[in-house]
Amino acid sequence: MSEHHITPLKTYLAVAGTLFFLTAVTVWVSYFDFGSFNIVIAMGVATLKASIVALFFMHLLWDDKKNLTMFVMSLMFLGIFITVTLLDTGFRGGVNSEVESPINNRAAFYDSLPLTDTHGHPVDEHSADHHGEDEDHH
């Protein structure tokens, strides 16, 4: 087994350093609002991190390329699953608008849920009413 590639320690430490750095970046960026780019940035950084883990920690960079193919294939099929499902869920109501969204947007059991404070304790009737009015103005 000795002929297997042994990665130098420095590489591993550098990889871990990069991962910590990218984690910091993605958290820092999340404090700013870029609108719909929030998702793109977060996913971009995550994908970068994931690729680094796969290539260095999981040795795909040095391995038999069959293993890489296997991994890429899993992502490809996941991609197919997501995209093709979105072709339906994202485009309902294209011809008949009734079909687009559910009849009730809120599940029935919410009607019996009391409003709570941030600790999950029900707030009293009076302020609940008050809160309800508040919501109407939104």
């Binding site: 087994m1 000795s2 297997h4 042994i6 990665t7 320690l9 591993y12 430490l13 990889v15 871990a16 991962l19 910590f20 984690t23 993605t26 958290v27 999340s30 929030n38 998702i39 977060a42 996913m43 995550a46 991190k49 994931a50 883990v53 796969a54 920690f57 999981m58 040795h59 391995d63 038999d64 069959k66 293993n67 296997m70 991994f71 294939m73 899993s74 992502l75 099929f77 996941l78 699953f81 997501i82 499902t85 979105l86 869920t89 994202g90 947007n105 809120r106 599940a107 059991f109 919410y110 849920l113 009391p114 409003l115 709570t116 404070d117 941030t118 600790h119 999950g120 809160h131 919501e135």
Partner: protein, 217 residues
């Protein structure tokens, strides 16, 4: 039908040589990783679809999660990935003691991850941010949004399944610690350690996605 005396005892009878056995194990492991990715994949699809249907609710609900704990867990898990890879590195370098130390560290980090997860979960349980019909949290941040229970269902299922993988990983690492301490794994034969390492990095890799999806955006 027996092998000649030169072949090592860990070589199974149906393989030609150690190289073939190692490569086969690795390919099998990657096929397994593929199935893992697609198992989580189903949940990612659920996430994407519901996020596209309830964008405001998702943004509102993920503000209820504790970013600090999530960040801490990310750091813990990346560190454990590093110690895992160093355990393999050490055994390749014939340093069994260091390898053992790194495995124990990995185990402890995994334990820490679950501990932090437990704190997070218990807080959610207290305030009623539960999955599905058990959901009861109607705090002012969320009361006006539709169906936040779906967000928490997906959150609990994804992090729960991930947590289950961490727990399984801990079991496997515990076995590695035992096998390394006994000397069954050494610089000649450490395939199980490398395979479990790959599994462990996958657990890390999935968390790399879960963290921003639930805590940040």
């Amino acid at each position: 039908m027996s092998h000649d005396n030169s072949s090592p005892k860990f070589l199974q009878h149906h393989f030609h040589d150690v190289e073939q056995q190692y490569e086969t194990a690795k390919l099998g492991m990657w096929a397994f990783i593929l199935t893992e990715v697609l198992t989580f994949g189903g949940l990612f699809v659920a996430y994407v679809v519901y996020r596209s249907w309830y964008p405001e609710m998702f943004v509102g609900a993920n503000l209820l999660l504790d970013v600090n704990k999530g960040l801490l867990n990310t750091i813990v898990l990346i560190t454990s990935s590093l110690t895992m890879v160093l355990a393999v590195w050490a055994i390749q370098k014939k340093n069994q003691k260091l390898s053992l130390f790194m495995l124990i560290a990995t185990f402890l980090f995994a334990f820490m991850f679950l501990g932090i997860k437990y704190l997070e979960y218990s807080h959610k349980f207290e305030v009623g941010q539960l999955p599905g019909e058990y959901y009861s949290y109607m705090g002012p941040e969320i009361a006006h949004l539709n169906n936040p229970h779906i967000f928490f269902s997906i959150y609990f299922i994804m992090t729960g399944l991930h947590g289950l993988h961490v727990a399984i990983g801990m079991g496997l690492i515990a076995w590695l610690i035992y096998a390394t301490a006994k000397g069954n794994l050494n610089s000649e034969y450490y395939t199980p350690m490398e395979m479990i390492g790959i599994f462990w990095h996958l657990v890390d890799l999935i968390w790399i996605y879960l963290f921003p999806l639930f805590y940040l955006i």
